[in-house]
């Protein structure tokens, strides 16, 4: 009722102002507090969310991702039995940062020269004063040296671990394996051919399985090296191949190199004579000519009789034999005594076009189809290929192929006439056998068995026989072309053998470049004296490893050839 009017109880103006200010200040404070609260709340929320996220999906602190699987820097290379042939290891590397050296540089140079004498004190001192940032002092250093260098206590010396390629078997199969360059990329051989496979993180965990067999390779390499030293040859090559699959079980080229130190190898050592080198391999070609003629029907078989004069004049040249028959002789005798005159006539009957077609079919006019990149191109007479060249090719002069191709040709001839491209990878689940291609008929392949066994039993290749293993094959002595002329004294001797001849399984081709005569060879440098024994020794070593059981009672069907051979000559000097 008597309510006082506002005007009557109005506060004093200063008080009013004070109330207004406090309210304003309170509002501002609330705003600020709220803002700060939001900021803190936000930060805490972010942290909590992050923790929850990490707890749910995050990795824990001690996780070592790089160690969950053992994948080498570069894939291993193993042989067909799983023996490592190339591996990547952690090696010690010693380097120096000349700018970071704090100690006395002269004293340091002295102690370095004492520890690593490959460079002199002055060279080390010049290196340290050069002002350049970095020098390698030693790669793949031994732990003892690393310890000694570390004991110098110089912070400018850097000791690090670095992936390095190691070939545990050193020179074994060096040309098949190849080597890597300083950056770890393949520079030759399988390292180069399969560089992508070996360096790809997806595939390098699995080793590359080669078809090489360490034991066979070692036997071949050792026996060949022995012969090369004994006969003072300038080089040698050898191939062992599986007849049925084309797998190369051993391939060697001598002089060999150590792929662990590729820098120390000479070009001659790096040269792969088995694939990159092409040679006129001489009489080892004769079985092909005969098989071509038999398959084409121009020669009926080992029983056919032909004229074998002392000298055969042909197309303005004379063809000679080292041991001429001077009578009528059978094809079996021509093969057994390796008669150039007989084989020239067979090739002449075959003719140039057919010979060319056969050689093409056998792959002798193209590069060998193997995975390696070091492949030589065969040399043929080309445009000069006339009737006389056809004759010389018939006995192996005038065409140059790699020893690997010769092995391939023998494998084709004795695998029932079916060609399989040679390979250095093991045939297995990851690398199935490619389909073959028929070149010769199975009948021709079968009839060639007894002919080549005859050469080893009674002919020029008698020293190649390994008792019980039924080795068959053909010797070859080719004159080397020196300054455009065929030399009469400098030879290239080879032997292409197959064993066991009653059921051919393996081909072995060996070659010696420029062997010299010795006392035991009575001055001869022909293949029957120097490479044939290598085959005998190697086959007796490798055949048991390859599961070929010796049997003195088994032979191929010799009744196909023996009736057509007159009394066997008692020497093996001829080729």
């Amino acid at each position: 009722m008597n309510a006082p009017s506002p005007a009557l109880v109005a506060p004093r103006p200063e008080r009013l102002r004070l109330v207004g200010q406090r309210r304003q200040i309170l509002a501002v404070m609330h705003q600020r507090l709220m803002f700060g609260l939001l900021v803190y709340g936000g930060v805490i929320a972010i942290i909590v969310l992050r923790i929850l996220w990490l707890a749910a999906f995050g990795d824990h602190a001690g996780r070592k991702e790089e160690l969950t699987a053992l994948i080498p820097e570069r894939g291993d290379i193993v042989d067909r039995d799983g023996q490592p042939l190339a591996r990547t290891i952690d090696a010690w590397t010693i380097a120096v940062h000349p700018t970071k050296v704090i100690g006395d540089k002269l004293a340091l140079a002295r102690s370095l020269a004492k520890l690593m004498p490959e460079q002199s004190e002055e060279q080390y001192f010049a290196m340290l004063r050069s002002g350049k940032p970095f020098f390698y002092l030693r790669r793949r250093a031994s732990p003892a040296l690393v310890e000694a260098v570390n004991a110098l206590g110089e912070p400018g010396l850097a000791i690090e671990r670095e992936a390095d390629r190691l070939y545990p078997q050193t020179t074994l199969a060096a040309h098949v394996l190849g080597f890597t360059d300083i950056d770890g990329h393949g520079a030759a051989g399988a390292e180069r051919a399969f560089d992508k496979y070996l360096s790809d993180p997806a595939t390098r965990g699995q080793p590359l399985v080669l078809s090489i067999s360490s034991g066979v390779q070692q036997a071949l390499q050792h026996e060949l090296q022995d012969a090369m030293t004994h006969f003072s040859a300038i080089g040698a090559a050898g191939v062992v191949m599986d007849v049925h699959t084309g797998e190369v079980l051993a391939m060697t080229s001598l002089p060999s190199m150590n792929p662990n130190v590729p820098g120390a190898a000479t070009p001659d050592q790096m040269f792969n004579r088995a694939t990159l080198g092409v040679f006129e391999l001489g009489s080892t070609f004769k079985p092909f000519t005969l098989a071509m003629a038999m398959d084409s029907g121009t020669v009926s078989g080992p029983a056919e009789i032909m004229n074998c004069p002392d000298v055969l004049p042909a197309y303005g040249h004379l063809v000679h034999d080292t041991h001429p028959f001077g009578r009528r002789c059978s094809i079996a005798e021509v093969m057994m005594e390796s008669s150039n005159i007989g084989m020239a006539q067979i090739a002449d009957k075959l003719g140039k076009e057919r010979q060319k077609a056969w050689l093409k079919k056998m792959g002798f006019l193209d590069k060998a189809q193997i995975e390696l990149k070091e492949i030589g191109r065969p040399l043929t007479p080309g445009s000069r290929w006339g009737p006389f060249e056809t004759m010389t090719i018939g006995f192996g002069q005038g065409i140059a192929v790699a020893p690997l191709q010769l092995a391939m040709g023998y494998a084709t001839l004795f695998d029932g006439g079916i060609y399989h491209p040679p390979t250095i990878l093991k045939i297995g689940p990851g690398h199935p056998l490619p389909p073959g291609r028929r070149v010769f008929t199975a009948d021709t392949s079968y009839r060639m068995r007894s002919l080549l066994r005859l050469v080893v039993m009674k002919g020029t290749g008698r020293k190649a026989d390994a008792p019980g293993y039924r080795v068959g094959g053909k010797t070859g002595t080719a004159q080397k072309l020196i300054n455009g002329r065929y030399s009469n004294t400098i030879n290239l001797t080879s032997f292409a053998g197959v064993f066991p001849m009653d059921d051919p399984r393996y081909v072995i081709v060996v070659m010696l470049d420029e062997p010299k005569a010795t006392k035991e060879t009575f001055g001869f440098t022909t293949a029957g004296w120097n490479v044939a024994p290598v085959v005998s020794k190697t086959v007796s070593r490798i055949a048991p490893m390859l599961g070929v059981a010796p049997d003195m009672n088994r032979e191929p069907n010799m009744s196909e050839v023996l009736p057509y051979v007159q009394d066997a000559k008692q020497d093996a000097k001829k080729d």
Partner: protein, 234 residues
């Protein structure tokens, strides 16, 4: 009423509890996983060490090195064709010994006394090898000692004893007539039998053994000397 008013608090608490439980499970899983990874990385490290060692062994025992040792020391060669046997029968044939006939041996007449009938012990039926009851039985030698004596090398001359009792000789005695001479002169190759050698001086020095312990303190000496011993030994 109180339950209704605290409902939100319970909700928050149960949510927080559930979240905490989930978090603890996750933490447990993470720690287990980290332990597993630890083990895995240890395995990988061990594999790496094995690989390093295998590489080192392989490098030291490389075929080239083995071949070099073989050429220099062992001189092993590849087996020849006649060193292989094709089966178990051929292998067994290799071990068959060839019987050698000594023509200088005195003729020893075979003697096979008639088997003697001995009565079986009462209440026990005598049996032969096949187990069939038999009336006749072979007599066993008296004792193992008698057997040993017959096979002994010490018998000077071998005379056929007029044995009547043992019908079947034991196997050891049966083989002995093959080489009676060797059995009769067992020691003819021994060096002691040769007079010159026996008279010769022995090559090796006789071993002299100490009568008593040389390190033991001497008897009758005063004990102060032994106390000095460590000093004099220095």
């Amino acid at each position: 009423m109180s339950a209704r008013s605290f409902r939100s608090v319970f909700m928050v608490a149960s949510c927080a509890g559930a979240a905490l439980g989930c978090y603890l499970v996750s933490l447990r899983v993470a720690s287990e996983r980290s332990q597993l990874e630890d083990v895995e990385s240890r395995i990988v490290l061990a594999q790496r060490d094995m690989r390093v060692l295998q590489t080192e062994i392989g490098t030291r025992g490389r075929l080239d090195q083995l071949e070099r040792w073989n050429v220099r020391v062992l001189a092993l060669s590849a087996p020849a064709a006649n060193q292989f046997v094709s089966g178990g029968y051929e292998l067994a044939k290799l071990t068959r010994t060839q019987p050698t006939v000594d023509f200088q041996a005195p003729v020893v007449m075979a003697s096979a006394p008639a088997p003697v009938h001995t009565p079986a012990p009462i209440g026990q039926e005598s049996r032969d090898d096949a187990g069939a009851p038999t009336a006749t039985t072979t007599v066993e030698p008296e004792s193992p000692r008698a057997l040993l004596h017959q096979a002994s090398l010490k018998i000077e001359t071998r005379e056929v004893p007029a044995q009547t009792r043992p019908a079947v000789r034991p196997p050891a005695a049966r083989t002995s007539p093959d080489k009676p001479v060797a059995a009769a002169t067992p020691a003819h190759k021994k060096s002691v039998d040769k007079p010159g050698l026996a008279a010769a001086k022995p090559v090796t020095k006789p071993v002299r053994l100490a009568k008593n312990d040389p390190l033991a303190p001497l008897p009758g000496k005063p004990s102060r000397k032994t106390a000095k011993d460590p000093g004099s030994a220095r």
